[in-house]
Amino acid sequence: MKRYTFYLYIVAAVLCISCKPEVKVPEGARAVEETAVIYPDYRDVTIPPNIAPLNFLTENAGDAFVAAIEGQGESLVAAAGSDGKLQFDAVAWTALLSANKGQRLTVTLYAKRDGEWVSLPAWHLDVAQEPIDRYLSYRLIEPSYELYRQLGLYQRDLESFDEFVIYENNRSYEEEHNHCINCHNYQGYDTRRMLFHVRANHGGTIFVDNGKVRKMNMKVDSVLSNCVYPTWHPSQPWVVFSSNLTGQAFQMQHKDKIEVVDYGSDLVFFDVEHNTLTNILKTRTDMETFPCWSPDGRKLFYCSAHMPRFENTPDSVHADIVLASYDSIRYNIYSMDFDPQTHRFSQPRLEVRCDSMGLSATVPRVSPDGKYLLFTLGQFGQFHIWHSSSDQWVKNLETGDIYPLTESNSPEQDSYHTWSSNARWFVFSSRREDGNFTRPAIAYFGPDGKARKAFILPQQDPEYHRLFFKSYNVPELTRSRVSVSPEQFRQVIYDDEATGQAVYKP
């Protein structure tokens, strides 16, 4: 009996230590004029109706906390102990959002102090009518310099906290097999056709076509270098790549620690069915990069920087030229019409003159409804995740208006972006948390052409992003899950003998 009583006391003690208050709105709470300090910052954001719970932690003083979300006909309450971590029931959250599409939710935070409950001024969550595509792909890698060890491609189900492995390079490190993977890309928000690159050992480009996986060596003579940034034609088995000569330099003083530069880049057209590679733009004094098809597949957008000094100088000094003038190199945005019958491109047409604004563009992406061109602008250069000046801008393709997405931008890096298939959401790479570690930020893009305040990818543990030691690269939205298993990918990647060879077609 004594032992039983002893254990009973132990259990009671443990329960008291991890005490949360009852999960209900405290009665008689005294209103205080004190801003709720929450992390992540989910105050006054617009959210998709199918997003996972926006769990958050509060940094306000208190021994216990309750958060209450009120909507039309539904409400939801979560409670936390002194750690301030408020995690909402996923099923109840989904019901709340479904019942409140197009409506505003009110969030009130309560804090218990010296036995008394106080309530802080409420904030809101606007639930959009339009959902976001269910899956977000990204690469997880440290915001590193030259070395890499363990990195992978993953897909997150945005309707839950589930994350799936697409492919990881090393479970246990072997130098002779170490390889990098990057530039995952999908055709038309569908994972049945996708690609990604493998670099260093077992290098090549992995193509997936309805479950069939193969690796191709994309390096050919007559093309500047390997194939790099991809864009799948929206419907046909064609991919336009940039081919880049890339290097990086490390700043000794500036807090934008790394400068990634191209010292040559061209555009190439790859016919996936016939394995042929053709130069589209191969110019000595222009660096063309970041291609992107229009949704109807009849236009190609891209960025280009003019380098007149390349004309009369040997290739071997181009990297030095670029490094010496890196902060004055600026990319404009161009487009070319495309004839799908002849595979011919028109003469380039200037779409956005960024250099005259003293700015430089990267990653032009046309909205799926064809109305807007989304791109990143920074003060110079072309690898804006390392430029704290970078922000998202749009061009209205109907009116020609060009403007920054002020509501969703931050003082830190806001860069690489992906549209949702309904053109109402975009996800982009942002370093707004600390200027160094990249997190996916999600923002609504209204029919009025304006963005709303962005919010960081929600996680089950609200403290996750603060402690996580990898960056999220290249966010890409899809409607479906990748069906190829990591083991299938590994088999193909490691089978160097079966690697196909792209063929140059003049």
């Binding site: 030259e146 890499y148 000794m252 620690k257």
Partner: protein, 309 residues
């Protein structure tokens, strides 16, 4: 040595190094770092024997000994971004280690990267025994005036870079040496370190301008600098060259060089014997270091270009 460094026990670091018969490159680096913090780099650097043994690493460790001390030496030399860079690379390859996390936290504080510093402090605080470090560093995030009151971090700021756009690639590696040898101007705090870097690297061409600045500032020349100038004059103009340093080079210095020349004469064809036989009487003299120590050409690091992942 890293543990002593964390305790800022510079004297113990020096003592530990000097007790060793054949200190490794890492020990020598931390010895120099400790001297730097005591403003005694030029006075004590060459008291250590510089005949580095080959160090064997386990398979899962960095293969290059430089990676063990680069971050700390970079930071002590005022090269904040480089310290962060090196510490981060170590973290990528070997996983999180508290020592490098602290280096990155310090770098973030010194760079004014408030939220990044808080991230690292949050991770550190979750670990036992790290509260003291966090209590020391965390207040500096929001009150940067406290940095000037911190012995270690105020020293780093004094060494600060002045050149607006330097890239690491412009300098020989390791960067804490290459930068100090390559820079052409800087604060007074850097001048001594810079002169020491040149002497350590035996680059007397780069060293002479620094000695000339010493003269212009009317700073006394430490023994190692005087000896280096006399060595330089042997091939570059002799007494004519030394005229500009008149009054700063003691008559004893030239006698010392002459005495060394006599002692070294029997061993000119056998460098190993030279070092072995002269060490007892000459260790500590720059002339001994210049001719006998740190002579292994296999230990010169080659410059590599930076790829992108």
């Amino acid at each position: 040595m890293q543990r002593l460094m964390e305790e800022q026990d510079w004297e113990a670091m020096c003592q530990t190094a000097l007790e060793l018969d054949r200190p490794t490159r890492s020990v020598a680096a931390y010895y120099a770092l400790a001297l730097e913090h005591q403003d005694a780099l030029l006075e004590g650097l060459f008291d250590l024997p510089f005949d580095f043994p080959k160090v064997k690493f386990d398979e899962d460790q960095p293969a290059d000994e430089y990676t063990l001390f680069n971050p700390d030496c970079d930071l002590a030399a005022g090269l904040i971004n480089s310290a962060y860079h090196e510490a981060f690379e170590l973290t990528v390859m070997s996983g999180l280690r508290l020592h490098w996390l602290k280096t990155m936290a310090k770098a973030a504080v010194l760079n004014g990267e408030e939220r990044l510093a808080r991230k690292y402090i949050a991770i550190l605080r979750a670990n036992p025994f790290e509260g003291e470090f966090c209590d020391r560093i965390e207040p500096m995030i929001s009150d940067t005036t406290l940095i000037a009151q911190d012995n270690e971090l105020s020293h780093v700021l004094q060494m600060g870079i002045r050149d607006r756009h330097p890239f690491e690639q412009l300098f020989r590696k390791p960067v804490f040496l290459g930068y100090n040898m390559g820079l052409t101007e800087g604060p007074d705090a850097v001048l001594r370190t810079s002169a020491a870097a040149c002497l350590y690297s035996k680059d007397l061409n780069a060293f002479v301008p620094r000695a000339q600045i010493f003269m212009a500032k009317r700073w006394p020349l430490p023994d190692c600098m005087q000896q280096a100038l006399v060595i330089y004059s042997l091939k570059h103009g002799g007494a004519d060259f030394l005229k500009q340093f008149q009054g700063a080079i003691s008559p004893m210095t030239e006698q010392t060089i002459a005495a060394f020349s006599r002692d070294v004469a029997p061993f000119t064809k056998d460098k190993e014997a030279m070092r072995r036989e002269l060490k007892k009487d000459w260790l500590g003299a720059y002339v001994y270091y210049y001719y006998c120590e740190n002579n292994n050409p296999e230990q010169v690091r080659k410059h590599e270009s930076a790829g992108v992942n």
